[in-house]
Symmetry: C2
């Protein structure tokens, strides 16, 4: 396939400094699953006492690794035990039939061996081409290398090893003091279409040394994913492999959070959500061909669900996204996208803003609106679009990027 060389205009100058997560060790290795000139397998080893939570794609054609993780997570439940996350890039082991199930099982066994966990406590994720058998023997062959390279600081090698069409490695971290104990939350992600199932699945692995009982960890992750990874879209497509795993080592020395009323939860939740949102935004900013990062905020909706649906209708509309690409303050397309969402909106109370510029209100263009102002605003790289639909009090924000010639070039102009 053609290589798209240009990095996203949002690529940071260097990988961020991430805090050390007590008890966690990471490594990467070169297995040659598909890529030959770079690391393509990452391993995370979590120590005794760890709890694990996960959120996965809702696709009806989920990959073998996703089905494996769902089954292992259900079986593991609230256990406190070592765990291993093993991830490869270049082959998604999706739509590979019985062969795929066996590949996921063997890959998990390899990860367990390298990471010092029981095979049933190893979680696997694969991203890359679909429909080709996973050459799992190449991953097994780097087991010793992965085990030998484990270190507390290998964030960037791990983040780079799981990339496919990404143009930059993605990491985010926070620290928070809970009752006098400093706790770290940090993770990495890959993804550059909201999803292209053959090369651009969204994967994220987040870790903390907080001690948190599994049911609470799982609930925090579901809520956090809802406001971050489930609130971003590049092209509205959903991978068969999307995976978000959260491991808590408990090694920070804090006493365990075992109740939903624990007063330390709000501060931890804020740190976790900060990491999840940061990673999710990086995925959008590395969206295939993206030149604009756009926050779409919907207010005045009947419910949060309705606000989210209206926001995604705007954020997924090809006509809205091409208008962003063209730096065109085309508010008519916003009206169209609100209308097609199917959610309640009062046409005669609709208000639309680009940044702080009031564009339309009360069912018509705002009296003081000057298109030149909006056109100047649209030249920014980071944009905000706000829509009040005038029927209620609920709101939601989603994030997206523009739809450009480069998206077409990445997805149409090569033969797989």
């Amino acid at each position: 396939m053609a290589k798209i060389e240009a990095a996203s205009p949002f690529a940071p100058a260097r990988f961020p400094d991430l805090p050390r997560v007590a008890g966690l060790r990471l490594s990467a290795a070169r297995a040659g699953v598909r890529y030959r000139d770079r690391d393509d397998v990452g391993l995370a080893a979590l120590p005794e006492g760890s709890t694990v939570a996960g959120v996965f794609t809702t696709s009806r054609t989920r990959s073998a690794p996703v089905l494996w993780c769902e089954a292992r997570l259900a079986a593991r439940g609230d256990a406190r035990a070592p765990a291993a996350f093993i991830v490869n890039a270049g082959n998604s082991n999706a739509f590979t039939g019985a062969n795929g199930v066996e590949g996921a099982r063997r890959m998990a066994a390899a990860g367990a061996l390298a990471g010092g966990a029981a095979p049933e406590d190893a979680f696997v994720a694969s991203t890359g081409v679909i429909g080709e058998p996973l050459p799992v023997e190449r991953i097994e062959a780097v087991c010793d290398a992965l085990a030998g390279a484990l270190s507390a600081d290998a964030w960037e090698p791990f983040a780079r090893a799981i990339m496919t069409t990404d143009t930059f490695p993605k990491g985010a971290g926070r620290t928070v003091t809970l009752d006098g104990v400093e706790v770290a939350v940090a993770g990495v992600a890959k993804g550059s279409g909201m999803i292209a199932p053959d090369m651009a699945t969204m994967l994220a692995f987040v870790f903390t040394d907080a001690a948190i009982a599994q049911p609470i960890l799982q609930r925090l992750l579901i809520e956090g994913a809802d406001a971050s990874f489930n609130a971003i879209t590049v092209d509205g497509d959903t991978s068969t492999s999307d995976t978000l795993l959260l491991g808590a080592t408990g090694a920070s020395g804090m006493t365990e959070i075992a109740s939903g009323d624990d007063p330390r939860l709000p501060a931890f939740r804020e740190a976790l959500n900060g990491v999840l949102t940061d990673l999710a935004h990086q995925v959008v900013k590395d969206g295939e061909g993206a030149t604009k990062f756009v926050a779409v905020t919907v207010t005045g909706a009947e419910s949060v669900r309705a606000a989210r649906r209206i926001g995604l209708s705007i954020a997924n509309s090809p006509l809205v996204k091409t208008a962003f690409a063209g730096e065109d303050p085309n508010w008519g397309r916003i009206v169209m996208a609100v209308g097609k969402s199917g959610e309640a909106a009062d046409r005669d109370r609709l208000a639309i803003r680009f940044g702080d510029i009031l564009v339309a209100e009360k069912g018509w263009v705002a009296p003081g609106y000057r298109e030149a102002d909006a056109a100047a605003y649209m030249k920014r790289a980071e944009l905000s679009v706000s829509v009040d639909v005038g029927v209620g009090a609920a709101s939601a924000t989603v994030w997206t990027c523009d739809l450009t010639h480069a998206y077409i070039a990445i997805n149409a102009d090569y033969r797989s």
Copy 2:
């Protein structure tokens, strides 16, 4: 705005010959609503004894003309009376507040006067830029010209007058003999995005000289639209103005079809659906930037609704559509799109065909599949993709086009 000069590769060499619909008269005129160098208003005058049916956009932000038509259709009910359809291009009279309501009313009055119908029997449709006041006085000024030009054969002038970003005028017709009486069904359409609300709404006006009671006519139109205009997609966007009107003059001399059991109904339905499907396919073939016309057939689904949703999930996926543009037999993206539809599918019984080429079956690539065969097939202009999802017996077909650089150019590369 930049003019996109290239005609669709599917544009016919000339406008089709359409049958004469007894009692129907058509005309076009140059009002200068926005375009200065072409006709931009069309009129259809239906005689005494006509019945009218309509289907409209489901958008929650429907335009003033759509709201007008819905109200007039409800009030008119099963009346047999003259009617007028008046249509302009260049301004959609959408999101124009109270001014828009008044504009639609005045435009209807002008159409009624020119077409010889009562004002409450005039139906209006407007397509073009949104959010700008309709210069209805320019339409009123061509009232006499429209009345004077009425003729039985003005199909092409009418079809051309309602175009916006269309690269060719669209018409289709059929004749059918019902109990010894020859009856004509013919119509015109415009639209070249599934919809771009500012310039590319879908409008269609179909006429017949059959005599059909209004409740039956309305049911036929709803069913026919479902399998034609509701089964096509260019970009998944829905206009605030989509309008499909069907007028039956009854002037063919046949006795009225007044019952759903009438033995003449199946033959009439076939002719009507033929016209509707032909027009709908022309809209897709003139899809913005389209180079491929693709039929997506889903079989083995739980219900027709599920089959339709899976088909639209495939047909609307940017990744699938860019693969068509790239002539890439990327069946992994089809699997992804089936999965994201949310409808039941059995991953291990899924079968995918490009034309007659079996690509995948039983959850994996088909044993005899050779990518070179599929790649050669994808070079055709008209493609067929078939997916059996392996859970039931229901099926549906939808039609779409590819997503190309030209779509981006049309929608992003100019400032409105």
